[in-house]
């Protein structure tokens, strides 16, 4: 894949990776702040255990080191598309239920949603540099059915789980992009470590 890259494509890829790493770092830091606000406004215990949640992509990866570049990009893209849908859903719930006192929470959620969308776009651009481009979005929308039956407390906990997992994904993504930008057969140069790498 990288071996077939033209110099301009390699440069573009390097630029995308570099910017993606910076964006992941910023996202990590903003999600951490958002988690603080979320826990406070929802009256939750920051250390509450939240089990694996339906529709929330888990950042934990087995055999992460053995993944191919395509697999990394596809994993990331599927995850961020899912987070985009999940955060949109959370924002809608906030609009429905919260009052003016929760404006800061809504704004922070909207800001993170924008970052997630931007990051997904970055990943799509990277996949466009591959031969086949990004996959369609059919599978990315989390199933809406089960959440309709959730109690409000469960929704609060679910939101906590989504944000926690997104924070973990931001760390993983920075490392994925760092792997992608390592000098390979195509001769792409290394990218300086982003802030998320030092987390």
């Amino acid at each position: 894949m990288a071996a077939a890259e033209t110099p301009s494509a390699a440069l573009r890829r390097r630029d995308l990776c570099s910017r993606g790493i910076r964006l992941a770092g910023k996202m990590r830091s903003d999600v951490a702040d958002l988690l603080d606000v979320y826990v406070e406004r929802q009256g939750l215990d920051a250390s509450a255990n939240v089990a694996a949640l339906d529709g929330v992509p888990a950042a934990a990866a087995e055999r992460w080191g053995e993944q191919t570049e395509s697999q990394r990009l596809l994993d990331n893209l599927a995850a961020y598309r899912a987070f985009r849908a999940l955060l949109t859903e959370m924002l809608e719930e906030q609009r429905d239920q919260a009052g003016p006192a929760d404006t800061a929470l809504r704004e922070a959620l909207a800001a993170v949603l924008l970052q997630v969308s931007a990051f997904a776009y970055h990943l799509e651009e990277l996949l466009r540099l591959e031969s086949r481009g990004p996959p369609g979005e059919e599978g990315a929308r989390p199933p809406a059915g089960p959440r309709l039956g959730l109690g409000l407390f469960e929704r609060k906990l679910r939101g906590l789980g989504v944000l926690r997992e997104l924070a973990q994904w931001a760390v993983r993504s920075a490392r994925d992009l760092r792997q992608l930008s390592k000098p390979g057969p195509g001769g792409t140069a290394a990218v300086p470590a982003g802030p998320a790498e030092s987390q």
Partner: protein, 387 residues
């Protein structure tokens, strides 16, 4: 494609949220001061029993004295005289297992029904739109999130319309951007609703023509008045948007020195589009703003609504030659100077304004400009000569 599908399936794990217990009632809404008995029931096939459970409310463990085991798998808790919800997203009543794990949760919404919104006021910018503000009832939204809906209709024959653009002019406001009729009054009211009920404000009746405001005056210029160190001249244009309509406008000016936040208001400007500020400090930067009040639009009898202030325009007064010496004259010297100046002034009037019965401050200003000029000339000829 298959690989991608498998990947998606792996990422979006379809494990249902399996909370091992159920709390009843789920997410209840209660009045402040009321009591509640909630139950936590673990599933019969679980190894958990009622004695393995405990309750927390907003993270604080509730005393065991308030618990009662109702059979082997159900634990109840009695909450008396509930306070208003700590957060608008609801108090978290959680049932835990002995090891602290969360078994189930319920959100308690404790508050009061909404109160009638009050103090509805509306204004129309250039007769094109309508914005209304109101105040919540005294308890406001202390505990429960309250939704506000502004409704309006043409008096006599209109149907109810609902305003769509909220928070445009603060937290309790709504903006109607278009499709407003003139010459027929509107009825306007606000409905407040929360989980405990609905309250409707009194109906306000208004004609758009009576609540018109406009843009701030345009092209505000501030300039010096010759060498007069205590005056500045302000000129502006009337707001362009209302030029086509039959209206009168009155203006207000406010000004302040650069290093103060206190504005002085001149409210006797009338309908002129220029004004002179007097009694200013020499050699000082002043910020000046102007605003406009359009009234009498198409014959409206109501007092108009003031526009926003124009952006501040800055100008400085000339530095005083006397003040530049850093020495204020003593009282006696001041009197002598004033007498001398008045004597000079009357002499000048006799010479330059003979037959002019209309003695005004403008004439006095003209004389001061003349005086400054003559002092300058004198200083140039006789630099040692003092005022």
């Amino acid at each position: 494609m298959l690989a991608l599908l498998l990947l998606c399936l792996r990422l979006l794990r379809a494990e249902p949220l399996a909370y091992p217990a159920v709390i009843s009632p789920q997410d209840p809404t209660l009045l402040i001061g009321s009591s509640l008995t909630a139950t936590c029931t673990v599933s019969a096939d679980s190894r958990l029993r009622a004695e393995d459970l405990y309750w927390t409310l907003n993270g604080r463990r509730l005393p065991a004295a308030s618990y009662a085991a109702l059979g082997a798998t159900t634990l109840s808790v009695a909450l008396a005289r509930l306070n208003g919800s700590k957060q608008q997203s609801g108090d978290n009543l959680v049932c835990h297992s002995r090891d602290g794990g969360i078994l189930a949760g319920s959100c308690l919404y404790v508050g009061l029904p909404p109160e009638k919104p009050v103090n509805i006021s509306c204004w129309s910018k250039n007769m094109k739109d309508l914005t209304c503000k109101w105040a919540p009832g005294t308890e406001g939204e202390t505990f429960l999130h309250t939704n506000y809906t502004l409704k309006y209709k043409l008096r006599w024959y209109g149907r109810d319309n609902t305003c769509q653009e909220y928070h445009t002019a603060g937290p309790y406001s709504c903006h109607i951007p278009k499709d407003l009729a003139l010459f027929t009054p509107y009825e306007i009211w606000v409905e407040a609703s929360n989980r405990l009920g609905v309250a409707v404000s009194d109906v306000v009746m208004l004609d758009i023509l009576d609540v018109v405001t406009t843009d701030p005056p345009a092209d505000v210029h501030v300039s010096r008045v010759g060498d007069l160190e205590d005056q500045l001249s302000v000129r502006w244009s009337s707001p362009p948007a209302l030029k086509d309509f039959l209206f009168q406008a009155k203006y207000q000016i406010q000004y302040r020195v650069e290093d103060s936040s206190e504005w002085k208001v001149v409210d006797d400007v009338g309908n002129q589009t220029s004004c002179r500020l007097a009694g200013l400090r020499p050699g000082t930067v002043y910020f000046v703003q102007v605003r406009c009040n359009p009234f009498g639009i198409y014959g409206s009898k109501k007092a108009g609504i003031w526009s926003d202030w124009s952006n501040p325009t800055a100008a400085s007064t000339p530095r005083s030659e006397r003040a530049a010496g850093g020495c204020e004259p003593k009282g006696g010297e001041q009197n002598t100077t004033l007498r001398r100046e008045l004597k000079q002034f009357f002499g000048w009037v006799k010479k330059h304004a003979y037959g002019c019965s209309n003695l005004s401050i403008k004439l006095y200003d003209q004389w001061r400009v003349w005086l400054q000029k003559s002092h300058k000339t004198r200083n140039q000829v006789l630099p040692g000569d003092k005022l």
